[in-house]
Amino acid sequence: MDDLKETLEFENLDLTENTILKEIENYDSLSILTIIALVDEKFEKKLTAKQLASISTVRSLMELIGLEYFTE
């Protein structure tokens, strides 16, 4: 969760699972690239543009990656 926050430069925000990605300030196509890169690097998974377009909240992003990776 912290990794996500840092990479997307969302440290200053109250990022919860219910936060809607598109409503985050500065969330743009570059943020999407950053997510793809992060998931590739940290989880060795591939996310497509289509998958990312189909999700809306931070929680759905976590689900896409796999909730098992987000144990607190």
């Binding site: 743009d28 793809i36 890169a37 497509t48 543009a49």
Partner: protein, 332 residues
Amino acid sequence: MESVINAIEYYLPEKILTNYDLEKEYPDWSALRIEEKIGVKERHVVTENETALDLAYAAASKVFKTIDKQLIDFILLCTQSPDYFLPTSACVLQDKLGLRTDIGAIDYNQGCSGFIYGLALSKSLINTGIAEHVLLITAETYSKHISPNDHASRSIFGDGAAATIVSINEAKKIIDFELGTDGSGKDNLIVVNGGLRNKIELTQKEWTDDAGNMHSNNHLFMNGPEIFNFTIEKIPEVVKKLLEKNSLTIDEIDYVIFHQANKYMLEYLRKKINVPKEKFYNNMLCVGNTVSSTIPIAIKNCLDNKIVKTGDKVLLVGFGVGYSWGGAIVEI
């Protein structure tokens, strides 16, 4: 008969589009953010009356200040913005430049991998004795394909041309290639209308994406995330294969120049293939993504700034529209 890159010059059109110009048109699109994230501060764009052929002519004229144009016995012109469907722009260029008539001239349609393919073709022409001095030109005006309301694409791409002379040489300086093609990616970087498959829509259907960029089938469409996925999957493989084929490790390469697509992607790729910053070119600040010319422009800049010197082994990789990709190992 082996070959070598003999000379490179490039030409950028005079008109400059700065981030501040873009910010004025789209207040939500911050100039500083463009520079920071995309790595581009300004890019050169052609005027209404300038074409890729004009840029090609200018670049070639520059290189002929140091190389005798009468030596040229083949012209390869890489462009996706030709003056005409026919005749071949390279033929028109032969005449404009006053080159010999007992020479070959063809256009080839390639984008970001274009320079690598041009080197491969040049090497082949020379190896087979068909030519001794190839004028390899990459010339592009994507600005003419981009919608005026697509600020994302307008931020990334710049127009420009490079003229490279590939010459016969005793020692093998253009060493090896690894080429690839995957047409399943065709829709991710495309101008749908205007060719012979689909006519230009006179009543243009337009749509706007989440970021406010306007798109139409008459204009260039690029799916950034998909291309990013393709690149990060393919390119490290290509680098690995090319090095293995030539029994080299990445540490034995003196410098690495990838197609300058965007700063973020380049930095990610650099880390993936384990190359230190000082051995990796990442600079599109004042030119943007000039498509097939990014690599020759980078080589020229490196030579001028003594970042790369004679004898250096350089790894070049071009990738993008098509999908098409190519890697090459050359000795400068």
